[in-house]
Structure formats: structure tokens, C-alpha cells
């Protein structure tokens, strides 16, 4: 086996350089430990996220197309960590392949060609399919035994059905399969696919309190120790706002919200100090200590 038989270009997205710093750090740590190569796309720009497609589809498509063009400079399929960026980038390829007019407009805007050839892959897909669950399981040094995880998909990892094609749109199991390979137990719960309030976090935090509150309550009901997410937006709403939600609803959750890469990296033996547990608002260390994982 060569040092890296899997190599990817990497689009972290804005959040991973700021509020989701621990997602970025743990991703790099995990991939390094698994021997997967990851090279950041130079000069990538914001994908436009929800606000762009919300009001200006052409802009949204153009920003994403530009990023795809930039990614061409690095070898390997494009690995994306953020579910929102993943969704936008994939949707762009999908819509532009369907509409000749839109493609021409976009190509004019970015002054270049749209790259349809570059496969856009979410980290989950890379772990579950490209690497494979067997190899992932083989790499586990510290099984997450005893940890009951509620896997939270949110909206954009699976929807709309024809875009991400990651897993069954209404009953996905990819997160459960991946974290299961690391020895964790997963709970069956009702709000896996409900919306957390997404980008209303800025303009209408009340919405987030309600929707994310329901999600936390559902996970708690199912007996989960913690939540696992694959999207910085979800993380922001469920972790950063958790205290506020507790105040608003009068419920106590105390539910650490991990990025999936944090838990996996922990399992494959990356030092906990390198996984940004200290940046989480709901302190996960008591739980991890209790389970003998740190």
C-alpha cells in the first residue's frame, strides 16, 4: 500500500475556518490517521450558501461553478465537509447539466467552463464507500463502545432526492453505519431529518430555538448520550444555542454535539487535544470521560 491510495481535493467552506474550526481540525486529523490525502483547494470562495440561492439563483450557481473550476487545479475528487456547501455544489452540477441556458449564463459570469467531471463527495460518502466500512473498522484503536449516539442528518445531506444521492432520502443510514463501524451504539429517534432552523440563526433566532429544541428533546427521549452532525450550521444551532434553548424551553439537555469526524478521529486514535473539544459550547469531556474515551 502506497502512503495514500486515496487522495482528494478539499473544500472546507467558510464555517470550517471559523465557527466550525473543530470540524476542520478533526477532519484533517482523521484523514491523516486513515492515510487519506487531502489538499485544500487554493483560493476557494464562499459557495453562497442559502442566502444566494434564496434570492439569486444565478449568483448561487456562478459562485459554486467558480469553486468547481478552482478545484480542478487540485487532483482527486472534491471532498466537502459542510452539508450546505456539499448540497450547493452538487445542486449546481445537477441544475447546470439540465439547463443549457443557465449553463451559458454561468459560464459567461465565471468566464470559464463548468466542471461537471469533478465528482463532489461528502466526507461520509468517502468514508463509507471509497474507504469502506471494513477498512474504517480495521483502523479503530479505541472503539466508542458504550456511547449512544443520535445521528442527525438535517435537511441538506439527503435532499432533494435527485441531488445528493448519498443514501435513501427518507430513511438514510449512512451516518449510523459509519459511526457503527467505530463501535458506537446508535439510537433510533424521530427527528433525524427535521430542520434545525438553519440560517435563521442570525435573523430569526426564535425559529431556531423552537426547531432545534424539538430535535434535542427527541434525541433525549430516545436515550442518546450525544448528537452527531455533519454540518456546521446544524452544529451551530444545536450546540452554540443549546443553553439558550434550555433557558427558553425550561428543559435540561446537556447534550454534547459532535462532528462526526471528531468521534471517528477519537476512535482511530487521534489525540483528543487535537480534536477541538474545547471549542464546543456544551462540554463533552465529562461524557467522554465517563465512557472511558479520554
Amino acid at each position: 500500500m502506497t502512503k495514500h491510495d486515496l487522495n482528494y481535493s478539499y473544500y472546507p467552506g467558510c464555517s470550517l475556518h471559523a465557527s466550525a474550526r473543530e470540524y476542520d481540525e478533526s477532519t484533517r486529523g482523521l484523514f491523516h490517521a486513515l492515510g487519506i490525502g487531502l489538499v485544500e483547494v487554493p483560493d476557494w470562495l464562499c459557495c453562497g450558501a442559502t442566502p444566494a440561492h434564496n434570492v439569486d439563483e444565478l449568483l448561487s450557481l456562478s459562485l459554486c461553478a467558480k469553486n468547481l473550476a478552482l478545484a480542478e487545479r487540485v487532483a482527486g475528487d472534491l471532498a466537502v465537509a459542510c452539508a450546505a456547501c456539499f448540497s450547493r455544489l452538487k445542486a449546481t452540477q445537477h441544475h447546470l447539466a439540465e439547463s443549457e441556458t443557465k449553463r451559458r449564463q454561468v459560464e459567461y459570469a465565471i468566464d470559464g467552463e463548468v466542471s461537471f467531471a469533478k465528482p463532489v463527495k461528502h466526507l461520509l460518502e468517502i468514508l463509507a464507500t471509497d474507504l469502506g466500512l471494513d477498512r474504517l473498522a480495521a483502523a479503530v484503536r479505541k472503539p466508542l463502545a458504550g456511547l449512544r449516539v443520535a445521528c442527525y442528518y438535517g435537511c441538506l445531506l439527503t435532499r432533494p432526492p435527485e441531488v445528493p444521492q448519498l443514501d435513501c432520502v427518507e430513511a438514510p443510514t449512512i451516518m449510523e453505519r459509519v459511526i457503527g463501524a467505530a463501535g458506537a451504539a446508535t439510537v433510533a429517534w424521530s427527528h433525524r431529518l427535521e430542520c434545525c432552523g438553519a440560517n435563521f440563526t442570525l435573523s430569526r433566532p426564535g425559529v431556531v430555538l423552537k426547531l432545534s429544541g424539538d430535535i434535542l428533546a427527541s434525541a433525549k427521549r430516545a436515550g442518546a448520550d450525544c448528537l452527531m452532525v455533519a454540518c456546521p450550521l446544524c452544529h451551530g444551532n444545536l450546540d452554540i444555542r443549546q443553553k439558550e434553548i434550555e433557558e427558553a424551553t425550561g428543559n435540561r439537555f446537556g447534550m454534547p454535539v459532535f462532528y462526526m469526524t471528531q468521534l471517528l478521529a477519537l476512535a482511530v486514535g487521534v489525540a483528543p487535544s487535537k480534536l477541538g473539544f474545547d471549542s464546543m459550547i456544551v462540554n463533552p469531556l465529562p461524557l467522554l470521560r465517563e465512557k472511558g474515551l479520554v
Binding site: S15, S19, D111, G197, N199, R204, K210, M280
Partner: protein, 194 residues
């Protein structure tokens, strides 16, 4: 307007607007048979005055002012639940996008100026820096929305956890990014893009 009766005729039904929404969204409006499944699963339904199915219904009747006057479209979280589950493949999420664009372009009488403002700042950020800097976004939003105290408590917490970058710099390729914005504006001016 809100509760006045609908006078239906070929004149009062703005079908041109409907066709525009259909073109922008790439989704048929007429296919909808008002089953209500979209509204049944919409996480934002309780915040909207027109549930998603009614938005489509008003569109079918060409009631364009009634749709844009409401705040429903600004409360859509783009979660795609409706689109995913619609039995008729009505792409409601895309229709919502299209409606917001229409309202945005018209700088129309949206009641949800806060969401509009957040969107606007977000896009401005991209144009100026190339990437999103959450600290700046939040700070400017608070300043401009007059909600100075909003999230006041969160700011310091996040800073101490290293979650907000106080300092940021522009992308090296900021020139190329500006070009995208201006070229899109140019296309629109020439009427070559919606």
C-alpha cells in the same frame, strides 16, 4: 387586501407572473393538486401566514400580490422537505427561491426585512471578502437591524472558544469574484438573464 374576496378573471389572474415563476424555478405550478403534504411536513409552517400549499394555490390563481405581500416566503428555511415529498414533483423549495428573487428584485413590500437584510449582508460579504466572516456578519447585522443586544451574550463565549475570527482578510482572487458579480449584473442589464 388580506381578506377581500378574489375577483377572478383573465385580467385579475396574473398568469404572466406564474409563468415567470415556473421558468425561474423550473417547476410546474399547475401540477399541484392541493394535497397539503408540503405544508404537513414544513418545519416553518407555524411561522408562516400562508402555508406552502396555499402559496402554490395563490400562484395557480395568479394572485401575485397576495403571495409577495406575505412574509411566508421569507420564513422558508429551504430545507427541501416539501420538494422531496411532493407527490407531483412540484419543486416548492425552488418556487420559494423564485418568489424571493421576484420580491428581492422588486425590492417589494416584504414584511421580513430582517431576513432580507441578513441575506443582503451575506452577499455583500462575499463580494467584498470572497468568504464569509461570521463575526463581521453578525456585528453588521446587529448594527443595521438596530438589535444591538441581540446575541450579545453569545459573542464573548464564541470568541473565547476561538469560534469567531476578529480579523480577516480578503481572498487573493477577489478581483475574479468581483467579476462574477459585475458580469451577472451586466447580463441582467442586457436582459439576458433573469
Amino acid at each position: 387586501m388580506k381578506h377581500t374576496k378574489m375577483q377572478l378573471s383573465t385580467e385579475t389572474m396574473n398568469l404572466g407572473f406564474v409563468r415567470k415563476v415556473e421558468a425561474l424555478s423550473g417547476s410546474s405550478v399547475r401540477r399541484c393538486f392541493q394535497c397539503g403534504k408540503c405544508s404537513a411536513g414544513c418545519p416553518m409552517r407555524s411561522f408562516m401566514e400562508h402555508p406552502p400549499n396555499r402559496i402554490v394555490r395563490l400562484l395557480q390563481l395568479g394572485q401575485y400580490e397576495r403571495v409577495l405581500a406575505g412574509r411566508s416566503i421569507w420564513y422558508c428555511a429551504s430545507c427541501e422537505t416539501c420538494t422531496t415529498r411532493c407527490p407531483n414533483k412540484v419543486d416548492l423549495a425552488a418556487i420559494m427561491d423564485a418568489l424571493r428573487k421576484c420580491s428581492w428584485d422588486a425590492r417589494g413590500p416584504s414584511k421580513e426585512s430582517l431576513v432580507q437584510l441578513a441575506n443582503r449582508l451575506f452577499l455583500d460579504n462575499i463580494r467584498t471578502y470572497g468568504r464569509q466572516y461570521e463575526m463581521r456578519l453578525a456585528a453588521v447585522f446587529n448594527l443595521r437591524s438596530g438589535k444591538l443586544l441581540k446575541d450579545f451574550m453569545l459573542g464573548p463565549t464564541l470568541l473565547t472558544r476561538g469560534k469567531l475570527k476578529m480579523f480577516h482578510r480578503k481572498n487573493r482572487n477577489i478581483g475574479e469574484i468581483e467579476k462574477i458579480f459585475s458580469r451577472i449584473e451586466e447580463l441582467r442589464k442586457k436582459g439576458e438573464a433573469p
